[in-house]
Subunit: 145 residues, 2 copies
DNA sequence: CTGAATTTGTAGCCGTGGCTACATTTCTTG
DNA sequence: CAAGAAATGTAGCCACGGCTACAAATTCAG
């Protein structure tokens, strides 16, 4: 922390920032596969227009990102057809949703309004380690009692 | 959330993702001004080499980012000299540190190991609203009792 | 004071994720 | 079935934050 006049080890500090940069690399993929999975479950399919609408982004941007997700083996997409998840993509979606829900539940239990909880969780979810996730779950249980 | 077979309003969902994108825009600035402030307080000055070392990034990257921070009025930097914060930059640093510390303290109180708490906080800090921050502070107090 | 080491700057490259504008394909509707 | 509408694709632009390689300035020793 170093709120007192000491600077922590430089390499350790650098490792933290590297971790954050790492999280940001997978963040977009996580949000997309989670949304694609939602759309398939509810609508029967995931289409570019709806992804664009729900991500708040142009359809051109969605196209580019879906292309990358396909290169990375997370989705399958053929021209002018709807988008599917690979097994790997589905696994990522499940994992992302799990983290998302734990964070939202915790925030609500902590007294945050549902709207704010949802907003903040959308960012926080990508930065919570398994260890922290476990602690949040446990704490949610305790608070609710 | 929508764990049950319902999709939330598209515009609302889009607003959440926009918020996250917004947070990511200011994130780099926040981490840099906070670190610059730390270095000035402890070392008497902030230099490019040390920023690079502590951010885990090349000095060329630091240079580019410092240039942007200067354009945005957060720092003052003259060629081959050390880097200073403007009043606005200092305010941002103080605010960033405040959020950082609240998140770290909460995580530790929640039972997360100090190392993990520091790592996760470095990312989480940029996604917690004031409302959530207040709830985390309150909760930290309660847990510690 | 001079030469070497260190620090800083800069040029130019890359991938990502934004956008608009326009082209093409598919779907729907009369 | 043919138009027109809607969806999808693509090209080309931008800013950001990474990088390496090289140039220039500053600092430090001898
Ligand atoms: Mn998210
Ligand atoms: Mn983030
Ligand atoms: Mn941070
Ligand atoms: Mn921080």
């Amino acid at each position: 922390m170093t709120s007192s006049s000491e600077l922590e080890n430089a390499a350790l500090q650098a490792a933290k920032f590297e971790r954050v940069r790492e999280a940001h690399k997978t963040e977009v993929a996580e949000d997309y596969v989670e949304l694609i999975d939602d759309l398939i479950n509810v609508n029967g399919e995931a289409r570019v227009v709806e992804l664009a609408e729900r991500m708040g982004v142009s359809h051109a941007t969605v196209n580019k990102i879906v292309g990358r997700l396909q290169r990375e083996g997370l989705v399958i997409s053929r021209p002018y057809r709807s988008i599917f998840l690979t097994d790997e993509g589905r696994e990522m979606a499940v994992e992302a949703r799990r983290r998302h829900e734990i964070v939202v539940k915790f925030l609500k239990a902590a007294g945050v309004s549902p709207e704010t909880a949802e907003i903040d969780a959308e960012g926080i979810e990508h930065h919570v380690s398994d260890e922290t996730l476990d602690c949040l779950s446990a704490l949610t249980g305790k608070i609710e009692i």
